[in-house]
């Protein structure tokens, strides 16, 4: 099912939950709403589900406006962070509840509930109460309940945040496989950028109720449209330095105190002559080398595969991913090589990208 949101707004008095959201979701697409808590992603999701009534704007399913359609008539399935299982009902009753409400005949109801439960790997737990299940099993029941009525749209509200790290990883791939297999249009709300990047076809980044960017994960990572998106997407986060870009002879130089790098002209020309701009560069695009910008190692954080090293350059500091075999020490002097083909530039006032803004 195709979903379109047009100028979708939700306000409670002077509090703005969602501010003029515009986006469209293609049939069978998996879209993630990503943002820090309180950014309006759950508000938007609940409007799509029909729980909140929009203050303004339109929600369209396959071209039909559904603003006034009750949640039960929208044919959506939803999975909540708290699972929201009915504690007084057993697993079978939980999963079959949507069918019971649809007045599906008993025999058919048993068959469908069992089929979904088997698919979720909880077919043997039908008689248990939710309190007798582990977190992962509860999540599967919640997913089964959302799937049993064969919805045209699946909504996920941070479904994995209450699971432990290892279970989160396996459920992540399971949900992704399931979504691809069933081909149900899905919206997945999360504050975890790794989840959003790995699962979704497209990611909608939100902040303060506003849509900041809506793009496939790669594009979001390589061509961030705003400073917020650049800083929010990617782990460890992007480094930001205030620089001035000038053209000298045929080279573009980005300079600040103790810092001078040459920028490829296709990126440099867009930032040159604009006064102070913000240069962004990801930790993996900086390397420790024999020559380059000199700095002092401030902190070394071992991450296992890499070390995350905080290097002071004058008054600024950048984070660099390095090979643990280098055995860097705190206080040691070092030199850094910047992969300037990957730098980003942002306007410090508007916080928009100087490279990708349209």
């Amino acid at each position: 099912m195709r979903v379109e949101l047009e100028n979708l707004t939700k306000r409670w008095g002077s509090v703005v939950g969602a501010d003029s959201i515009n986006l469209e979701i293609k049939d069978a697409e998996f879209v993630a709403f990503l943002g820090p808590s309180g950014c309006g992603k759950t508000t938007t999701l609940l409007m799509v589900a029909g729980i909140y009534k929009p203050t303004a704007g339109e929600i369209r399913f396959d071209g039909h406006v559904v603003n006034a359609v009750a949640p039960k008539d929208r044919n959506v399935g939803m999975v909540f962070q708290s699972y929201a299982l009915y504690p007084h009902m057993n697993v079978f009753q939980n999963i079959s509840y949507p069918l019971k409400l649809k007045k599906v005949p008993k025999e058919e109801m048993h068959k469908q509930a069992q089929r979904v439960a088997d698919m979720m790997g909880i077919g043997h737990l039908m008689d248990r109460k939710p309190a007798q299940l582990s977190g992962g099993q509860q999540q599967r029941v919640a997913l089964g309940r959302a799937l049993v009525k064969e919805p045209q749209l699946l909504l996920f509200d941070e479904p994995l945040s209450n699971l432990d790290a290892r279970l989160r990883l396996s459920m992540r791939s399971e949900i992704k496989r399931l979504q691809m297999k069933l081909g149900i249009t899905s919206i997945y709300v999360t504050h975890d950028q790794v989840e959003a990047m790995t699962m979704a076809n497209r990611v909608a980044v939100m902040k303060n109720g506003k849509l900041q960017a809506y793009a496939p994960p790669d594009e979001l990572y390589d061509q961030p449209r705003t400073l917020f998106v650049a800083g929010f997407v990617g782990n460890p986060p992007m480094n930001f330095l205030e620089v001035e870009v000038t053209r000298e002879n045929d080279d573009y130089h980005a300079r600040r105190e103790g810092f001078d790098v040459i920028i490829p002209s296709n990126r440099g020309e867009k930032a040159a002559g604009k006064g102070q701009v913000i240069l962004g560069i990801r930790p993996e695009d900086i390397t420790i080398s024999d020559e380059g910008i000199s700095g002092e190692i401030f902190v070394v954080e071992p991450l296992g595969r890499d070390d995350l090293v905080d290097v002071r350059i004058g008054e600024a500091s950048v984070r660099v991913l390095t090979d643990p075999a280098m055995e860097l020490k705190m206080g040691q002097a070092t030199t850094l090589d910047f992969n300037t083909r990957k730098v980003q530039f942002f306007d410090p006032q508007t916080e928009k990208s100087l490279l990708w803004a349209d």
């Binding site: 589900a49 729980i51 399935g77 909540f80 007084h88 109460k129 939710p130």
Partner: protein, 299 residues
Amino acid sequence: MTTTTFETERGYGARRVLGQILPYAILTISILPILIGYAWIIIATFSMHTHGLMPVDSEGNFGGLTLQNWTFLFTPEIWRVTMNSFGIAIAMVVGVGFISTLTGYALARMNFAGRKVFLGMTLVLHAFRPELLLIAIFQVLLFLAGIPVVGKWFGFNTVGGVAIVMITLELPLGVWLMKGFFDNLSWDMERAALIDGASRFRVWWEIIIPQIKPGIAALAIFNFISGWNAYLIPFTFTIGSKVSNLPVYLNQLQSDTAPTSWNQIAAVGLFQLVPVMIFFIFTQEALLSIYGGGSKGGT
């Protein structure tokens, strides 16, 4: 080395036993006066006189055991007032329970004009002592008595009238109590049920009410006891034993011109206690069982 360990363990064990006994000892001593009181009531109902906890005959010797105090059970009057008490208690359980769960849900979950004012007003109403309202309520019941049909069942000097007044006075507390229980429930469960396809009423009945069973049980037992033991309202708004209830009847036993038989009063008092005990035994499981819940964290 081993012996030392053994000794320390033993010392520790002795302290643990003491730690287990001590709380019970303190509890037993502190409730002793009440236990003695109950013991006296039970003994007194089966004797002519008592000396301390000892049943005695007229000469002060042990004896004088009798069933005479219980003869009231064979008068039609006692069963009439018991039924009246029972009627008031059940009316309160059903009336307050039904209205409070609906009102509490609306106040906890829905936003409507006047919600805040309503909440404030109910609290203020609860602050009024019923004694203050007696004269006003008397006027209302008199007015109701003047209406055909309604007056026959709910006017002045009817059990129905007493029940309605009792329910009304109890509602503010019931509504607030229920609202508190609803406030503690997760919104997600309700949203999930709405999305699953339930109507608002079905969500309330099939999903929400089962979660607050302990609350409803608590409210029910509370109302049963206050209806069963009601004295002031029945005493004020009923005349004669046809419509009065047990506590009023109990009180009349000592206001007679004849010398008061405390042993008989004890028997009637014990009789009055029995249904409350039975009711409590049946509801205590619901009171104590609070669902484990189907959620981890979240709202």
